[in-house]
C-alpha cells in the first residue's frame, strides 16, 4: 500500500517539476521571442508607466544566466509569487486567482461529483434494463461527443435567452453588492444553475457509458459466473459487479479531471461566469501572460492534489492495493 502511494507520489512530483519547467520555458524558448515582443510592446504603450516596464525586466530576470532565471522562478513560486497582472497592474496574480477560484470550485466540485454519482447510477441501471439501455447508450454517446461550450450555449439560448428562465451571464446580479445576504446568495445560486447544468450533463454521459460497459464486463467475469452457478440471486451478483465496476470509475475520475477542468473554463466563458476560465479569457485577450501562467500552475497543482485524494480513496476501497501484491492497479 505504501509502495503504491509512494509510486504515485513520485509521478506527481515529477509531473509538477515538468509542469513548472514548461511554464518557465515556454515564454523563453517559444519561436518569435514572446518576452521581447511583450516588453517592447509594453514600453511603447502610451499609458505604460515606468514601473510596469521595469517590473517586467525584473520579473523575467533577463539580464541573468538561464540557470539563475530558472532557480529564481522556483524560488518565487515557493514564496507564493506568481507575478503581477498586466491588465490590472499591480494586482498580484494570486489575488486575481483567489477571487476567481471560489466560482470555479463552486461549479467544478458539484458537477464532477454529482455527474460521477448520477452517471454511475444511470449506467448501472442501463446495464440491467434493455429498454433503458437503448436510450441511455445513444444519449450517453451524444453527450460525451458534445463540446462543453456548445451545450452551455444551447442551454443559455433556450432557457436563458428564449424562455428567460435563467440569467444569461455573470456570477450574480450586477446590481447587488457582494455580501453575505440571503438575496445575494439566492442570486449566486440562480446564476449558478445553467453553467452547472451544462457541465453536469456533458460529464454525465461518459460516466454512464463507462459504468454500463464495466458492469456488463463484470457480469461476464468468472466470479459472477461462479456465483450464478451456485444459485446466488441476481441481487448479490449485481452488488458485487457494481462494487467492482466502481473501482475503474474511481481511477477514471482522476483521469478525467483535466478534461472537466477544461470544460469548466469554456463553460464559464459562455456564461461570463467570473471564475478561472473567465480570468484566462481576459488574460488571453489582454495578453496578460502572468495571469495565464498563474492559472496554468494553479490548475496543475489542483489536479495533482485531486489525483492524490483519488488515490487515497482508491487504496481504501480496493483491497488489492492494500495487500501490496499488485503494484499499479490503474
Amino acid at each position: 500500500m505504501l509502495r503504491y502511494l509512494a509510486r504515485k507520489l513520485i509521478i506527481y512530483l515529477l509531473t509538477f517539476i515538468v509542469a513548472v519547467t514548461i511554464d518557465w520555458a515556454i515564454p523563453r524558448f517559444m519561436p518569435g521571442n514572446p518576452i521581447d515582443a511583450l516588453v517592447s510592446r509594453i514600453a511603447l504603450m502610451p499609458d505604460a508607466n515606468a514601473a510596469l516596464t521595469s517590473y517586467f525586466m525584473a520579473a523575467f530576470n533577463l539580464d541573468q544566466p538561464l540557470w539563475r532565471q530558472y532557480l529564481n522562478f522556483w524560488s518565487a513560486l515557493f514564496h507564493g509569487d506568481l507575478g503581477r497582472s498586466i491588465m490590472l497592474f499591480p494586482t498580484p496574480v494570486t489575488t486575481l486567482i483567489g477571487r476567481a477560484l471560489p466560482y470555479t470550485l463552486g461549479l467544478l466540485l458539484p458537477s464532477i461529483l454529482l455527474s460521477w454519482y448520477v452517471g454511475n447510477m444511470v449506467g448501472a441501471l442501463a446495464a440491467r434494463r434493455k429498454l433503458l439501455d437503448n436510450s441511455v447508450l445513444p444519449l450517453g454517446y451524444l453527450l460525451t461527443a458534445t463540446p462543453y461550450m456548445w451545450l452551455g450555449i444551447l442551454l443559455a439560448w433556450v432557457l436563458g435567452s428564449t424562455l428567460g428562465w435563467f440569467p444569461l451571464a455573470f456570477g450574480y446580479d450586477q446590481s447587488l453588492k457582494a455580501e453575505w445576504s440571503w438575496r445575494f446568495i439566492g442570486s449566486l445560486l440562480y446564476h449558478w444553475v445553467l453553467p452547472f447544468a451544462s457541465l453536469f450533463m456533458v460529464a454525465l454521459g461518459g460516466w454512464a457509458i463507462g459504468m454500463r460497459n464495466m458492469i456488463i464486463y463484470e457480469l461476464e467475469s468468472d466470479y459472477a459466473n461462479y456465483l450464478m452457478a451456485l444459485g446466488a440471486p441476481q441481487r448479490l451478483v449485481r452488488k458485487y459487479a457494481f462494487r467492482n465496476a466502481m473501482l475503474p470509475q474511481i481511477t477514471g475520475l482522476a483521469l478525467q479531471l483535466g478534461a472537466v477542468v477544461g470544460g469548466a473554463l469554456v463553460t464559464e466563458i459562455v456564461f461570463s461566469y467570473p471564475g478561472l476560465g473567465w480570468l484566462v479569457l481576459s488574460g488571453i485577450q489582454n495578453q496578460d501572460y502572468f495571469v495565464i501562467q498563474g492559472v496554468f500552475l494553479f490548475i496543475i497543482v489542483g489536479v495533482l492534489l485531486a489525483n492524490l485524494i483519488v488515490d487515497i480513496v482508491y487504496v481504501v476501497v480496493d483491497p488489492r492495493t492494500r495487500v501490496g501484491l499488485q503494484g499499479d492497479a490503474a
Binding site: I11, A19, A145, M149
Partner: protein, 296 residues
C-alpha cells in the same frame, strides 16, 4: 471520455478472417450509421467550400440575416456568410482531427510497442513518461503554449494536441503488445533473430491492427473536441476559420442575446455529430472485430 474497448488481440490475419470481418461489418448498424454520418460531414468538408459562394471571412453580406435562399445558413452580425464559414470550419476540424490523431497515434504506438515489447528498464522509463503526461491537465498546457504563439496555424494546433493526447493510447497499446509478445509466433520471430523493429511492425502491429484502428478513431475524435475547445477560448488558428472560432465569435458578439441561433447551432451540431459518429463507429467496430461481442 472515451469508451473503453475490451477487444482481445485478433488472431493472425487470414484471408477468410478478412471476408468474415467484412461480412459482419456490413451488417453492423452502429458501424453503418456512424460511417454514414461521418461521410456526410466529410463530403461537406471536401466539397462544401466549392459550393460556398462567399469567402468565409469577408464582410460582403447584409449583417444578421437568418437563413435564406441567398445565405443558406444566414449571416453573422458583421455580414459574413455563415454557410461558407461552416464548410471551411468543417474542413479545419477534419484536418486537425486527422493530423492530431496521427501525431498522437504515432507517439502512442511508438511508446506502447517499445514499452510492451522490450519490457524492463525501457518499459519503466516510458511508463513513467506516460504517467506524467497522463496526469498533466493537457488542456492547461495547450493553453499556455497557444497563448505564447503569436501566429497559430492548423498544423501547429494539431501537432500540439497530438503531443499531449497520446498517453492513454500508449497504455492500451502497451498492454496489447505485452500479451502478444508472449505468443508463439513472436517467440519464433525472436528466435529467428529478427530485429526489434521488424518484429514490432511485421508480427505485432498487424496482429493488433483492429485495435490500432479503433485507437486512432478515438484519438481523431478527441483531437477535434480539444481543438474546438481551444478555438473557443480564443487560441485557435489566427489565419483561418474553424467551428470553435465560429462559436467563440458568436458568443463574444451577443448572438445569444440576439437569438441568432444560425450562428452557433451549426458548428456545435457538426462537432457533436462528427465526434459522436466516431464513437458509435468505434463501438460498432469493436463488435465486428471481437467475436465475443458479435455472436448471438
Amino acid at each position: 471520455m472515451t469508451s473503453t474497448t475490451g477487444s482481445a488481440p485478433a488472431s493472425p490475419a487470414t484471408k477468410t478472417g478478412r471476408n468474415e470481418i467484412l461480412y459482419f461489418a456490413l451488417r453492423n448498424t452502429k458501424l453503418l450509421i456512424g460511417a454514414f454520418v461521418f461521410m456526410v460531414f466529410l463530403l461537406g468538408a471536401i466539397f462544401g467550400p466549392m459550393l460556398a459562394t462567399h469567402e468565409p471571412l469577408t464582410f460582403d453580406a447584409p449583417p444578421g440575416l437568418p437563413p435564406s435562399a441567398g445565405y443558406w445558413f444566414g449571416t453573422t452580425l458583421f455580414g459574413q456568410d455563415v454557410f461558407s464559414q461552416f464548410v471551411h470550419g468543417l474542413r479545419s476540424s477534419f484536418i486537425v482531427g486527422a493530423l492530431g490523431g496521427i501525431t498522437a497515434a504515432v507517439i502512442g504506438m511508438f511508446v506502447g510497442f517499445f514499452a510492451g515489447y522490450r519490457g524492463g528498464i525501457v518499459d519503466e522509463v516510458l511508463n513513467m513518461l506516460t504517467n506524467v503526461v497522463l496526469v498533466i491537465p493537457t488542456f492547461a498546457v495547450l493553453l499556455v503554449v497557444a497563448a505564447y504563439l503569436s501566429v497559430r496555424g492548423l498544423g501547429t494546433e494539431a501537432m500540439f494536441i497530438g503531443l499531449t493526447s497520446w498517453p492513454w493510447a500508449a497504455r492500451a497499446i502497451r498492454a496489447q503488445t505485452f500479451s502478444l509478445t508472449s505468443r508463439d509466433f513472436v517467440g519464433m520471430a525472436r528466435l529467428n533473430g529478427e530485429s526489434t523493429l521488424r518484429i514490432i511492425f511485421g508480427e505485432i502491429a498487424p496482429n493488433m491492427s483492429s485495435y490500432l484502428v479503433m485507437t486512432f478513431i478515438l484519438l481523431f475524435g478527441g483531437a477535434i473536441l480539444t481543438a474546438a475547445t481551444l478555438d473557443f477560448i480564443g487560441l485557435g488558428p489566427t489565419d483561418s476559420i474553424s467551428l470553435g472560432l465560429m462559436m467563440n465569435y458568436s458568443v463574444m458578439n451577443a448572438a445569444l442575446q440576439l437569438g441568432m441561433w444560425w450562428w452557433f447551432v451549426p458548428p456545435g451540431l457538426a462537432i457533436t455529430a462528427i465526434v459522436g459518429s466516431l464513437y458509435v463507429m468505434n463501438v460498432g467496430l469493436d463488435e465486428v472485430f471481437n467475436p465475443k461481442l458479435r455472436a448471438l
